[in-house]
């Protein structure tokens, strides 16, 4: 019974909703939003895919390092004292690792800025 009433009420509202003229966005708003979105789309950087040979070289280097370093892990002692020379090497390794890790971010930022500059000229 309640379900029937609900359907009846819903039909009544639907009938009148169909007859109502729905609000439409103004042409000005539509075009302004479209242009802003185009600018946003163009400001994105579409980097080309990384070539396969880079991945292969990357994998080979990793394997090679692992093979070379593996025998030396036996000589590692946890209570070993860290002298200046070893600390220097460790810092150098850490610095290189951090630089490698953040290099893509820096490059992307740089390219993004370049892209925005060229868009500003064309739009």
């Amino acid at each position: 019974m309640e379900d029937k009433d609900f359907q009846k009420d819903l039909e009544f509202i639907r009938t009148h909703l169909k007859k109502m003229k729905k609000p439409e966005p103004s042409h000005e708003l539509v075009e302004k939003t479209r242009n802003l979105c185009h600018q946003k789309l163009c400001s994105r950087v579409f980097s080309p895919a990384i070539p396969k040979y880079i991945w292969i070289a990357f994998a080979l280097t990793l394997i090679l390092i692992a093979i070379i370093m593996l025998p030396f892990t036996k000589s590692l002692k946890l209570d070993q004292s860290l002298d200046l020379q070893n600390a220097g090497v460790l810092i150098l390794i850490a610095q290189n690792a951090v630089m490698l890790f953040f290099a893509p971010v820096v490059i992307r930022k740089f390219r993004g800025k370049q892209k925005i500059g060229s868009n500003a000229l064309t739009i």
Partner: protein, 193 residues
């Protein structure tokens, strides 16, 4: 290498613009209507409409391979609206109590007035009922209105609404039931037909 990259980026941009335009032209009216019925105010609706599409453009690459793009866009609108409400609440908490009360007393009338402008009807016969439906919609609680608009105006399924609003499907159904009852009660003066 650089010019090649520039060329491919340009082609990619042109392709993306084309795809974006197709999506935009297809859903812009639906998104606008949803924003209007959510905010009950044209100015805020326009802002919400623009913010929604800018968010879509920002995450456009995600949308390219998406199956439920419409749901995704409406989820963005709904989330942005929730954010704006939260910001409004924070701002309001800094105002004097008396000012807040005055604002609250005024808002239903203001809402009704702004919604009057939203429901243009084709004939004078339909003018009253169109206005009455718009006013009845503004009186509905937030969640009831959202669900009603998504179901009856945007044409979403219960499961899709449940995804958009992050609510169980049963809740969506029962809220819609209550919303329809309330609307019908408000429109009691108008005969069936």
């Amino acid at each position: 290498m650089t010019s090649e990259h520039d060329q491919s980026a340009k082609t990619k941009n042109a392709e993306n613009r084309k795809m974006f335009d197709a999506l935009y032209d297809h859903y812009k009216s639906d998104v606008y209507r949803f924003a209007v019925y959510l905010t009950k105010n044209r100015g805020e609706a326009e802002e919400l409409f623009q913010d929604t599409w800018l968010r879509v453009a920002k995450n456009f690459l995600k949308a390219v391979n998406m199956k439920k793009v419409k749901s995704w866009i409406f989820t963005i609108t709904s989330n942005l609206y929730k954010d704006s409400l939260r910001k409004k609440r924070v701002r309001r908490s800094f105002l004097f109590q008396t000012m807040e009360q005055a604002g609250n007393n005024q808002s239903p009338r203001e809402n009704a007035r702004s919604m009057d402008n939203l429901s243009h009807t084709d004939s004078s016969e339909q003018l009253d009922i169109g206005r009455a439906i718009s006013q009845a919609l503004t009186k509905l609680p937030e969640q009831h209105r959202q669900i009603f608009v998504l179901k009856e105006m945007a044409g979403f399924k219960y499961s899709e609404i449940s995804e958009i609003l992050k609510l169980p499907e049963g809740t969506v159904k029962s809220v819609l039931f209550r919303a329809v009852k309330k609307l019908r009660l408000d429109l009691k003066a108008y005969s069936q037909g």
